[in-house]
Amino acid sequence: MAQMTMIRAITNALDIALAADNKVLVFGEDVGRNGGVFRATEGLQAKYGETRVFDTPLAESGIIGLANGLALEGFRPVPEIQFLGFIFEAMDQILGQAARMRYRTNGRFHIPMVVRSPFGGGVKTPELHSDSLEGLFLQSPGVKVVIPSNPYDAKGLLLSAIADNDVVVFLEHMRLYRSVKQEVPEETYTVPLGKASVLRQGSDVTVIAYGYMVQTALRAAHQWQEQHGLSAEVIDLRTLYPMDIETIVSSIKKTHRAIIVQEAQKSAGGAAEIIAQINENAIYHLEAPVLRIAPPDTVYPFGVVEDDWLPSPELVVTGLQKVMSL
């Protein structure tokens, strides 16, 4: 086992997938010689050649359209969209095309594609680099949405996503790329899509999060325990669609209270969907309303105010205190 950052775990997963199946192709802007702007594809072109790992012209709809065509010819494309904010350009090719191909052809064709894209706040980017846009995909049928929170999961989830025969949007939080190191096996393994994981056991409140907010939730749970002697159970959702409501419900049956920590703007999106499903499946086990700890409904702000805008562990602790008082 090796200590790996999330970015290395992702490179390692791509390496394994490229070696295992010559139908797997990795491409996008700057992913070839340059190894990607975050070095996610570092060394892969040198190892697998320009027909397997390659640069494309700079056009996001073109990149995903290219992936759709390659999939129709039997390949397993893993395109990269350089930053998630650029994905607006490719929405038709993902949601209007790829996600509908199985339906449109009644199963004759399908698109086994993984769209990888960095996103997430706290790293002082220009506009449209940090936005959390997962809610857009949740609302649209035919795509799976995966957001890992640590290196081990990132590798296992990415290998599951590449093996999946449907469209997977795989979102990588930039702040996690190099901030967390973990023991990650060099060999192949998978983490199943659609399964949440309980990262911290607790009995008083269930905290549901994904992506970088898992780290925030874990810190908050620790602080809350220290400051107030209460214990939070932290669930890392890992996959937003399909959503593992069972894990959430069994935790709520134990704690009877829940909050959701989300980096995306408060309205609609992931947290709203989690609450809707809790409402349908576990409302009689609740002793208080489920709260959302999330930023306001504004665009993701320019750098000087982002630390203030993003949910902090302290804000989560406030939420925990509030839900206990209800």
Binding site: P57, S61, G65, L66, N68, G69, L72, T105, D166
Partner: protein
């Protein structure tokens, strides 16, 4: 034979208008040969086949308009006027080449292996319509304008990576040539030197908007110049010109010389679709009459009849064949079990997630009755 798609076509540009390269035409409006180099180098029976397919398509279109009005078809975009552009280009491909049609390109899809009854189902909004047979190489007609152009680049790249000497053929219209995907598609195909033939059928109006309001470009073919690929403009009412240009583009692509953009200058006689479009709101009878004089069927029929290659009984036989084929298709489509929401759910993913399965259960009692 002099090549009519060549490096000169893209290199000789000194203005933004390549109308200095004349529109390619083999037959004039009366069917007289005006350029012998554009007469396809194919057998007499293959030439008769072009006529057969065009007559078949015209009859199919006439019947489809009636069926749409009767409510026996759903979505339909008329094709009359564009037969040469459609048939001539598809005929230049092999069955193993991949076709990406736009929503109007039903005839090419049918001649490329899409069973007629499945087109009927597609038109009615039945999912079975898009279930392309295993041995056919195409996807169902695209609804989003131009989306197929970038996909064609991907299919072409896939073919090139596999080294199997196949070609992708795709279509859009004059309106489609304004889309970002149009530029991205031809640019990607050029950058990867992918074996793709891009056809832009310039039928003069994008629903109601004339080409003059669509672009300042002198031709749509010249849009190829910026992508660094050959572009050529052909008389889209002349099946020989369309066939010959497409065949050369297909051969170039197959030989590893990359993509080509072909503009076919044509006209749709009917409305945009059968869903309430009224062409009198945006074009005059005089314009329609002007284009009807250039009719692709009259032109080829005159040419063939002068050579004794097409008789009235050939025409009659083809008409009967088309009517029979459509009657059979309707019968077969009517016999297909109704589409269900449960079946729709099953087509969303390879493995249906639990939440979606629970949603499906809510429909089962209703649909099992």
């Amino acid at each position: 034979m002099k090549p009519f798609i060549n490096e000169v076509t893209k290199m000789s540009i000194v203005s933004a208008d390549i109308r200095q390269t004349p529109l390619l035409q083999a037959l004039d409006e009366t069917g007289k040969v005006v350029d012998t180099t554009l007469i396809p180098d194919i057998s007499d029976s293959e030439i008769r086949q072009l006529m057969h397919k065009m007559v078949f398509t015209r009859i199919l279109d006439e019947r489809a308009l009636r069926l749409a009005r009767q409510g026996r078809l759903g979505f339909y975009a008329p094709v009359a006027g564009q037969e040469a552009s459609m048939i001539g280009s598809e005929a230049a491909t092999r069955p193993d080449d991949f076709l990406l049609p736009g929503y109007r390109d039903v005839p090419q899809a049918v001649f490329h292996g899409w069973p007629l009854y499945q087109w009927v189902l597609f038109s009615r909004g039945h999912q079975k319509g898009g279930e392309i047979p295993e041995d056919a190489r195409l996807i169902p007609p695209q609804i989003i304008i131009g989306a197929q152009y970038v996909q064609a680049a991907g299919i072409g790249l896939g073919m090139k990576l596999k080294g199997d000497n196949r070609v992708a053929l795709t279509y859009t219209g004059d309106g489609g040539s304004s889309e970002g995907d149009f530029y991205e598609g031809i640019n990607f195909a050029g950058a990867f030197q992918a074996p793709v033939v891009f056809v832009v059928q310039n039928n003069q109006f994008a629903i109601s908007v004339p080409v003059s309001k669509q672009t300042a470009a002198g031709t749509l073919a010249q849009k190829a110049v910026a992508a660094g690929i050959p572009g050529v403009q052909v008389d889209g009412m002349d099946v020989f010109a369309v066939y010959s240009a497409t065949k050369e583009a297909v051969d170039r692509a197959r030989a590893g010389h990359g993509p080509t953009l072909i503009e076919t200058v044509t006209f749709r006689y009917g409305p945009h679709t059968m869903s309430g479009d009224d062409p009198t709101r945006y074009r005059t009878k005089a314009i329609e009459a002007q284009w009807e004089r250039r009719d692709p069927l009259i032109r080829l029929r005159n040419y063939l009849q002068n050579l004794g290659m097409w008789s009235d009984s050939d025409e009659e036989q083809t008409i009967e064949e088309a009517k029979q084929a459509l009657a059979d298709a309707l019968k077969k489509a009517d016999a297909v079990p109704a589409m269900t929401v449960a079946g729709l759910v099953d087509s969303m993913f390879e493995t249906i997630p639990d939440t979606l399965l629970r949603q499906k259960q809510e429909y089962l009692p209703k649909e099992e009755q």
